[in-house]
């Protein structure tokens, strides 16, 4: 057990899986000798060799095409897309190919690919680095979209993802990489896929969120508690397909829901959660489902992030409004 950042927890997960299974391959732009632009693959090439951890040419479609071909040869590829804003270059290989291959071959092949990629705001990146494009891949049947909110989940979810025989898009929030630490076990452990996590139990309202917004929601819940509002914080962890049971159970318990995402209101996955609640949980509701999200513009210029991104106060304000409805 040691306190570590999320990026260290990710490195530890990759290290474990590279050791456990020689078919696990880690590759992407600058992931080898350089150890990744965020050091997520630091020293992994040194330890596991260039056959298992290697750099690629600078071409995202080529990287995921390489993964798909390697999977067809019995490997367990863990490719990296340097920033998820570059996903468009690889979109056919992800959505048009990887996600469909097992289905189109009638289950006669499997595609155990885990695509790791950094995203998320609050760190003043240049254009198309921080965008929350998880909603795009969440709409693709055949994929799982996984997004850890902190170090403990990151290690366990990444190990589960790599061991899964299905394709996974694993999104790592840049602000969560180093901004806080958690206790993380030294050995390999798994956090289940398809399972949301209750990060704080409460009875008055459910805040449903994911990624770095989980941390803000927890901070908001602490402040709300001082005002007598007991918020439950539900971390989706797997954004698609959704863990319907955990979501509906929490809604049934609290009767009030605030959905929080960093993505623009028209993007992300909150609308899916809202639709699920409308379909299967509406009789539990004492107030309309509310959403906290970014405005519907392209991701902002770095200097405007603070004004644009949802923050703790936005969550507090919305929760109060929903509770007082």
């Amino acid at each position: 057990m040691a306190k570590m950042t999320m990026v260290k927890a990710i490195t530890a997960a990759l290290d474990e899986e590279l050791s456990r299974d020689p078919k696990v391959l880690v590759f992407g732009e600058d992931v080898g000798k350089n150890g990744g632009v965020f050091r997520a693959t630091d020293k992994l090439q040194e330890k596991h060799g260039k056959d298992q951890v290697f750099d690629t040419p600078l071409a995202e479609s080529g990287i995921i095409g390489l993964s798909n071909g390697l999977a067809l040869q019995g490997f367990r590829p863990v490719p990296e897309l340097q920033f998820f804003g570059f996903v468009f270059e690889a979109f056919d290989e992800i959505a048009g190919q990887l996600a469909r291959e097992r289905f189109r071959m009638g289950g006669s092949r499997k595609m155990p690919v885990t695509i790791r990629s950094a995203f998320g705001g609050g760190v003043n990146t240049p254009e198309l680095h921080s965008d929350s494009f998880e909603g795009l891949v969440a709409q693709v049947p055949g994929l799982r979209v996984v997004c850890p909110s902190g170090p403990y989940d990151a290690k366990g979810l990444l190990i589960s993802s790599i061991r899964s025989d299905d394709p996974i898009v694993f999104l790592e929030h840049m602000k969560a990489y180093r901004s806080f630490k958690e206790e993380v076990p030294d050995d390999a452990y798994t956090v289940p896929l398809d399972k949301a996590g209750i990060k704080r139990e409460g009875k008055d309202v459910t805040i449903i969120t994911y990624g770095y917004m989980v941390r803000l929601a927890l901070q908001a819940a602490d402040e709300l508690a001082k005002e007598g509002i007991d918020a439950e914080v539900l971390d989706l962890r797997t954004l698609a397909p959704l863990d319907e049971d955990t979501i509906l159970a929490s809604v049934k318990k609290t009767g009030r829901v605030v959905l929080v995402q960093e993505a623009q209101k028209q993007a992300g996955v909150s609308a899916n959660v809202a639709a699920l609640i409308a379909e299967k949980g509406i009789l539990s509701l004492g107030a309309p489902v509310a959403r906290v999200a970014s405005p519907d513009t392209p991701y902002p210029f770095a200097q405007a992030e603070k004004a644009w991104l949802p923050n703790k106060q936005d969550i507090i304000n919305q929760v109060k409004e929903t509770v007082q409805f």
Binding site: S61, G62, L66, G69, R104, M105, G106, D166
Partner: protein, 363 residues
């Protein structure tokens, strides 16, 4: 025997198509004549005849509504069967949508190929030993995937090759370049075949690029590029065979451009080639027919005659009839099975849909 100099071809791709047989079936390049036995020569020709008959039958069956999507292949028999004949069963084939004949000769049962045409999942359930994936619809995607399969073959230490096909239009795609460039950077055992039939639907090859040949595009990836007469099965075979040998020896990928022509439309889904091609041009290419050329060559050697062709034609027609019986006895597809095939470990939200559809299907 002429050995192609692949190192030289990296620096200077061929800018004239290599040829063994002329239009009259005479050997014009004795040095490039492949070392095939009489039986093998007949076998290769039979594959070409097979492909032409299957093309013609498929066209009719499609028009009768008994088959679905089909991209005609007549005219391309030398390019398709000649190259495929040089490959090994354990090589991995990533076919484009027009490359169904190669897939079948690589081991996919004909009835499954027909089911692919009709849009039935049973056409795409491949046994593990079949080293192939179903025909690729997204032009260029097979090229980047080929780089990955080839790298996998290399990592597994197998003496095999990943090989793939695209058309002339496909060479304009980004994935075309990325695939060759990745395979080149990793010295992966990949063979990239461009079947230049002069048109991408209605757009002539000259509108794709100002490059004089498509073979020269290999230079951008630092790999050998070879242009070959794609109506000449022996030239295509021999060039492919030598390329495969060079690749298996660990030298990295090769790209081959075959100069060919499709007699039919782009697909049978409404394309009319007379909107963009002249009768004169078509006639000129018919005079260049790959079957005629090979037939004359074999007849000259006393290896083929009309009686043999008639017997073989009857045999292929019967094979098509048998395949259609299997096609038409397939059970209807079930949505619950689609859902079950989607994931290895089915997520609970998908399991609910499986249960729901199974209930509906039981009614």
């Amino acid at each position: 025997m002429k050995q192609l100099d692949f190192e030289q071809l990296k620096r200077t791709p061929t800018d004239q198509p290599l040829q063994v047989l002329n239009q009259d079936g005479q050997v014009v390049d004795q040095d490039l004549l492949p070392d095939l036995s009489d039986d093998q020569l007949v076998d290769l020709f039979k594959q070409m005849v097979w492909s032409r008959i299957v093309n013609d039958r498929t066209t009719k069956l499609k028009r009768q509504g008994r088959l679905g999507f089909f991209a005609p292949t007549s005219g391309e028999e030398a390019s398709q069967m000649g190259s495929n004949y040089a490959m090994n069963k354990d090589d991995f084939l990533l076919a484009g949508y027009r490359d169904v004949p190669e897939l079948v000769k690589h081991g996919l049962p004909l009835w499954q190929a027909f089911l692919w045409s009709k849009g039935h999942v049973a056409g795409n359930i491949y046994p593990q030993e079949l080293q192939a994936v179903p025909p690729q619809i997204i032009i260029g995607a097979q090229y980047v995937q080929t780089a990955g399969v080839a790298l996998g073959i290399k990592k597994n230490g197998q003496p095999n090759v990943a090989y793939t096909y695209t058309g002339d239009g496909g060479t304009s795609q980004g994935d075309f370049y990325e695939g060759m460039n990745f395979a080149g950077a990793y010295h992966a055992p990949a063979l990239f075949i461009v079947q230049n039939n002069l048109y991408a639907i209605s757009v002539p090859r000259k509108k794709q690029t100002a490059a004089k040949t498509l073979a020269q595009k290999a230079m951008a990836a630092g790999i050998p590029g070879i242009q070959v007469d794609g109506m000449d099965a022996l030239a295509v075979y021999e060039v492919t065979r030598q390329a495969r040998e060079w690749i298996v020896a660990g030298n990295g990928p090769v790209m081959i451009e075959t100069l060919t022509y499709r007699y039919g439309p782009h697909t049978l889904s409404g394309d009319d080639p007379h909107r963009y091609r002249t009768k004169e041009e078509e006639n000129q290419w018919h005079a260049n027919d790959p079957l005629v050329r090979m037939r004359k060559f074999l007849e000259g050697k006393g290896l083929w005659n009309q009686q043999l062709e008639d017997e073989y034609t009857a045999q292929v027609n019967q094979e098509v009839d048998e395949a259609m019986k299997q096609v038409e006895s397939q059970p209807a597809q079930r949505v619950s099975e689609f859902l079950q095939n989607e994931y290895v470990q089915t997520p609970p939200a998908i399991q609910k849909q499986i249960d729901d559809y199974q209930q509906r299907e039981a009614k």
